[in-house]
C-alpha cells in the first residue's frame, strides 16, 4: 500500500471499501487514525511539551498518557488501547542509555520486540504499533513521529481486529 503526495491510490480506497463495513465518510482522505502515546515523563512527555512550546502542529487525534518510565507500560495497556478502538499505539521513552531510571527503556525495547511478534500472531498489522526514543529536547521529533505514524496507519484503515464488538459501530469515538 502506498501513498503518493498524500493521495490515496485507488486500490487502497477500494480495499477499504470492500474490506470493511465502516462508513465511508469516516475513512476518507482526511480521516485521521486515533493514536495513543504512552510517554515517559522524563523524556518523551517533556519532548511533547517542547513541541507545544515550539508550536509544532500535529494531528488532533493524538492522545498522550503520562507514565513514569516507558518500562512501566504494561503490554496489557497496549492491548486495551486497541480494544478500545485506537488505531495505533506508540510507546516512547528516553534514548537507550539516557533512561532516568538507568535501565527502564531496555526492558521496553526487549518487551516490545516480543509485543510486535504477538501482534503478528494475533493477526494485527504490526505497523499499528511503534516504540521509539524521543528525548526532552526533541520536540520536532515528537511531532514527526506522531505525524508519520498517523500517515502510516491511515492506509491501513480503522482497527477492527481487537476492538471490542460493541464499539465497532462507533467509528471515530474520539475527536468527534
Amino acid at each position: 500500500m502506498t501513498m503518493d503526495n498524500g493521495q490515496w491510490t485507488m486500490d487502497n480506497e477500494m480495499q477499504r471499501q470492500q474490506g470493511t463495513s465502516v462508513r465511508l465518510d469516516s475513512v476518507g482522505k482526511d480521516w485521521d487514525p486515533k493514536i495513543l502515546v504512552f510517554a515517559c515523563q522524563y523524556c518523551t512527555y517533556a519532548g511533547a511539551d517542547l513541541a507545544g512550546l515550539s508550536r509544532l502542529q500535529y494531528p488532533t487525534t493524538t492522545r498522550v498518557i503520562r507514565v513514569p518510565c516507558s518500562g512501566r507500560t504494561n503490554p496489557q495497556f497496549v492491548i486495551r488501547a486497541f480494544q478500545k478502538g485506537f488505531d495505533g499505539v506508540l510507546v516512547a521513552g528516553c534514548h537507550p542509555g539516557d533512561c532516568h531510571f538507568s535501565t527502564g527503556n531496555y526492558f521496553t525495547r526487549r518487551r516490545y520486540l516480543l509485543m510486535t511478534r504477538l501482534m503478528e500472531f494475533v493477526g494485527m498489522d504490526p505497523r499499528r504499533f511503534r516504540v521509539c526514543w524521543i528525548s526532552g529536547s526533541e520536540g520536532p521529533k515528537f511531532q514527526q513521529v506522531v505525524t508519520e505514524l498517523t500517515d502510516a496507519i491511515r492506509p491501513l484503515g480503522p482497527n477492527h481486529k481487537l476492538r471490542d464488538t460493541e464499539l465497532s459501530s462507533l467509528v471515530g469515538g474520539i475527536g468527534r
Binding site: 486515533k34 495513543l36 515523563q41 512527555y45 517533556a46 511533547a48 511539551d49 517542547l50 513541541a51 507545544g52 512550546l53 508550536r55 509544532l56 502542529q57 500535529y58 488532533t60 487525534t61 492522545r63 498522550v64 498518557i65 503520562r66 507514565v67 513514569p68 518510565c69 518500562g71 512501566r72 507500560t73 504494561n74 503490554p75 496489557q76 495497556f77 486495551r80 488501547a81 478500545k84 478502538g85 485506537f86 542509555g97 532516568h100 531510571f101 538507568s102 535501565t103 527502564g104 526492558f107 518487551r111 511531532q143 469515538g173 474520539i174 475527536g175 468527534r176
Partner: protein, 665 residues
C-alpha cells in the same frame, strides 16, 4: 460518592484562543463523578488558587482536576494548593490542554474536542487516585568521601567544617591524588605541593575527618540517609598507632621496585610511603615487592623498627559503616600512549607523557628538578610537545577534549624555556583552548615572553635517525611538511576514566557515560548530583577537569551533602511500587528487574484462613513474597510489568489508573 471538581484555565489567551474554555467547563459537568466545574483566566494565580480552595470547601470536593499547562509546569503548585484546602496532594490530576493541545492545534473545534477528551482522561484517573503519604526516613549524620585527590580532600574539608563527621577513603597509601605529582600549577605557576600539602595536613588534623587510606569500598547497601558501606582496609603490615613515621625501615629495605609516584622513573623500597609529605605518613608493605613475602626471609624492617610496628601477620579487614551521604571523587587516569604506533609504541625512552614531565621538573623528583631526558640523562635542548594524544581522536582515543592539556602544555613549554639555556620548545596543536580566568593570558605569555613555537598541525610520525628523534608533522597554516630534530618529546595524553570506573559505578549504584565518566543527574542544572539520591560527584571522575573546577565542584557537592545531613529525616516520594502479598507467588522475577536493588524476597509466616489451594484451613505456612524497600524504590514501575501474578503495582500510576485513562476514551 467521589466528587471531582474540574478547573479549566484560559492561560490568558494561550489556551483560550484555540480551545473554547467555557464549553469545556460545561461539558465537564456531564462527566461521571464530576460535581463541580468552572473556568478562569489564570488558575495558577493567587485568585485562581483561592477559587479552587473555596470550591473544595463549598462543594465538598474530594478529587481535583486542573485543565491547564503541563504537569511538569504546575503540578507541584496545584498539589500544594489542594493540600492547603485539606486534600491529599495526590488526589489532584492535571489535564495538559496547553502544551499538548492548544499550542499544537489550530482548528478550534477539533482542539476543543481533544481538550474534552484530555479532561475525561484526567477525571477517570482522578476517580481512581488514592491518598498517598510520603514515608519518612531517618538521616544518618555521617558522610563518606571516596577518593582522596584534591576534589575529595576539598569536599571532606568543606563538610567537616560544618560540623559533620566525614570518612575519607583513599585506595593508595596516601591522599593527594594527581595533584601531588604535579610540579607547578597553571595559570599562576604556584607550586602544587605548596598549595596541596597544607590541605592534606588540614584534613589529617581535622577533628571531624577520619582518613581511611590504603582502603577500598567493597559494597554499598541501603539508600539515601542510610548507606551501609563495607570498606576493605588492605593489610599495611604496619601498626599505624605504634609507627612514628621515622622512615628508617624504608631506608634499610633491600627490596626495590618501580615507583608509581615517580611514573616508574625511579625506584622505591617495598616498605614505603609514596612521597615524603604523604598523609597518613605511615609506610605500608607492598607484599608483591617484599622479599619476606616472596622468599620467607628478610624481616629487616621488623628488626630495625624501634617501636615494633611491623606486623607481617596483618590481614585485610572489612568494616561496615553507615553513612547518610556519599561523595564520589575517584579522579581520572591517563591514556596509554603506547597504543600510538606512529609515536613509537612507547619504545623510545625519550618520548614521555605530560605527567612524566611533571616529575622530571619537580625538585623532589627523580632528577631533583633538572630536566634530563630518560635515555642518557642529558639535558634536552629541543623539546617537542604534542597535544591531543588520545583526545579528540575518535579512531584511537576519545572524541572529547581533555580540557587541561592546552594549559599544562603551555606550562611545560614555558618551563623548558625557563630552565634550559638555549632551548627550543615546539608545540604541535590542533586548536588552542584556553577558556578560564587568566588562561589565554598565560598561553600568550608562553608565546610572547618565553618564545615557545606553536605549530598548527598533527604529528604523523616520530622515528629515530642516527640517535635522534625525528618528529615529522604538518604545518597546516603554512601548508608544509616539517621535520623537527628533537631531544625529547612530551605527549599531552588524554584524561580518561579510571580503568575500574564502570565496575565501581555498578558497585555503588551510579551510572556512567559512553566514556565511563560518572553521570551527573543533569548536565546543566544538577551537575554534582547523581541519579541515586544521596550520592554526589566531585572532580575529574565526572569528566576531564582542572584543579579550579574540581575544587569548585567539590564545594558544591559538599553543600549538597550538608543540606541533606542537616535534616533529621526526609520525606520520600510516595510514588513507589507496592506488593500485594496475597497475590504474590514469590517467583522473584521482579528482583533482578529493579535497577535500584529495592526488591528482595522475604519469608512470610501466616495462618491459612479457609481452605485454599496451598493448604488446609488453620495450618501455619511459610512462603516467600516480594518486599519493596521504599527508601530505594524510585518509582519506575519496571517491576510491575514483569510481575506474573499481578501482585506489584505502582502507586500513583496503578494499572487501574492507567487503564481508566485508556477506557475513558
Amino acid at each position: 460518592m467521589k466528587k471531582v471538581g474540574v478547573f479549566v484555565c484560559h492561560c490568558g489567551t494561550n489556551i483560550a484562543q484555540t480551545v473554547n474554555c467555557e464549553q469545556l467547563a460545561e461539558a465537564a459537568k456531564t462527566l461521571p463523578g464530576v460535581a463541580y466545574s468552572t473556568e478562569y483566566k489564570y488558575m495558577c494565580s493567587d485568585p485562581g488558587q483561592t477559587m479552587i480552595k473555596k470550591a473544595i470547601e463549598e462543594h465538598n470536593l474530594d478529587r481535583v482536576v486542573v485543565a491547564a499547562c503541563s504537569p511538569r509546569m504546575h503540578e507541584a503548585t496545584f498539589r500544594k494548593c489542594v493540600n492547603g484546602a485539606g486534600l491529599n496532594p495526590y488526589l489532584l490530576e492535571i489535564a495538559n490542554i496547553r502544551e499538548q493541545c492548544s499550542w499544537v492545534h489550530s482548528d478550534k473545534t477539533k482542539a476543543t474536542a481533544k481538550a474534552e477528551d484530555l479532561i475525561r482522561m484526567a477525571v477517570a484517573k482522578a476517580l481512581k487516585n488514592e491518598k498517598l503519604t510520603p514515608s519518612v526516613i531517618p538521616i544518618h549524620k555521617r558522610a563518606l568521601v571516596i577518593g582522596g585527590g584534591i576534589a575529595g580532600i576539598q569536599a571532606a574539608l568543606d563538610i567537616a567544617d560544618t560540623g559533620y563527621q566525614v570518612d575519607l577513603v583513599e585506595r593508595e597509601p596516601s591522599i593527594g591524588g594527581k595533584m601531588a605529582q604535579i610540579d607547578k600549577t597553571f595559570p599562576t605557576m604556584d607550586c602544587s605541593a605548596c598549595i596541596l600539602t597544607p590541605k592534606m595536613v588540614d584534613a589529617a588534623q581535622h577533628p571531624n575527618i577520619t582518613i581511611i587510606a590504603y582502603s577500598e569500598v567493597e559494597k554499598v547497601e541501603g539508600y539515601v540517609g542510610n548507606f551501609d558501606v563495607t570498606i576493605r582496609r588492605k593489610a599495611t603490615c604496619v601498626d599505624p598507632v605504634k609507627c612514628t613515621g621515622c622512615g628508617l625501615c624504608s631506608q634499610k629495605c633491600p627490596s626495590k621496585t618501580d615507583s608509581e609516584f615517580e611514573c616508574n622513573m625511579s625506584q622505591r623500597p617495598a616498605i614505603y610511603s609514596p612521597f615524603p609529605q604523604a598523609i597518613p605518613n605511615k609506610p605500608v608493605i607492598d607484599q608483591e615487592a617484599c622479599r619476606y613475602f616472596k622468599t620467607g626471609k628478610c624481616k629487616i624492617c621488623q628488626k630495625i623498627c624501634a617501636s615494633d610496628a611491623v606486623n607481617f601477620e596483618d590481614q585485610d579487614e572489612l568494616v561496615t559503616i553507615r553513612y547518610g551521604a556519599i561523595v564520589v571523587a575517584t579522579g581520572y587516569s591517563l591514556y596509554d600512549y603506547n597504543q600510538y604506533g606512529e609515536y613509537g609504541y612507547g619504545q623510545y625512552p625519550d618520548v614521555i607523557s605530560g605527567l612524566d614531565f611533571e616529575r622530571l621538573v619537580n625538585a623532589s623528583g627523580p632528577t631533583m628538578g633538572k630536566i634530563k631526558r630518560p635515555s642518557d640523562g642529558q639535558e634536552p635542548k629541543t623539546v617537542v610537545f604534542i597535544k591531543c594524544v588520545g583526545s579528540r581522536d575518535a579512531n584511537r582515543g576519545h572524541d572529547y577534549c581533555s580540557r587541561a592539556c592546552c594549559m599544562y602544555t603551555a606550562k611545560h613549554a614555558t618551563m623548558v624555556r625557563d630552565k634550559i639555556k638555549d632551548s627550543q620548545a615546539v608545540v604541535f596543536y590542533m586548536d588552542i583552548r584556553t577558556p578560564g580566568k587568566n588562561y589565554e593570558e598565560f598561553y600568550l605569555r608562553a608565546v610572547e615572553e618565553y618564545g615557545v613555537t606553536y605549530v598548527r598541525g598533527r604529528v604523523s610520525r616520530i622515528y629515530m635517525e642516527s640517535g635522534n628523534l625525528i618528529v615529522q608533522g604538518e604545518d597546516t597554516i603554512l601548508g608544509t611538511q616539517i621535520l623537527v630534530v628533537a631531544d625529547m618529546v612530551v605527549l599531552a595524553t588524554a584524561m580518561e576514566a579510571q580503568p575500574d570506573a564502570a565496575e565501581f559505578a555498578r558497585k555503588i549504584g551510579i551510572t556512567f557515560d559512553q566514556n565511563n565518566f560518572f553521570n551527573e543527574a543533569h548536565p546543566k542544572l544538577r551537575p554534582v548530583e547523581t541519579f541515586s539520591a544521596g550520592i554526589y560527584l566531585a572532580g575529574a571522575c565526572q569528566g576531564p577537569k582542572d584543579i579550579p573546577d574540581s575544587v569548585a565542584q567539590a564545594g558544591a557537592a559538599a553543600a549538597k551533602v550538608v543540606a541533606l545531613l542537616s535534616k533529621d529525616e526526609m520525606a520520600t516520594e510516595p510514588i513507589v511500587a507496592e506488593v500485594n502479598t496475597n497475590h504474590c507467588s514469590g517467583c522473584g522475577f521482579c528482583v533482578p528487574v529493579c535497577p535500584y536493588k529495592a526488591i528482595s524476597l522475604k519469608t512470610l509466616t501466616e495462618r491459612v484462613h479457609g481452605s485454599v489451594a496451598w493448604g488446609p484451613a488453620g495450618k501455619e505456612i511459610t512462603r516467600q513474597v516480594a518486599e519493596v524497600n521504599k527508601g530505594l524504590c524510585q518509582g519506575c514501575g519496571a517491576c510491575t510489568v514483569n510481575c506474573r501474578s499481578g501482585a506489584l503495582d505502582l502507586l500513583g500510576f496503578t494499572n487501574e489508573q492507567i487503564l481508566a485513562e485508556v477506557d475513558s476514551l
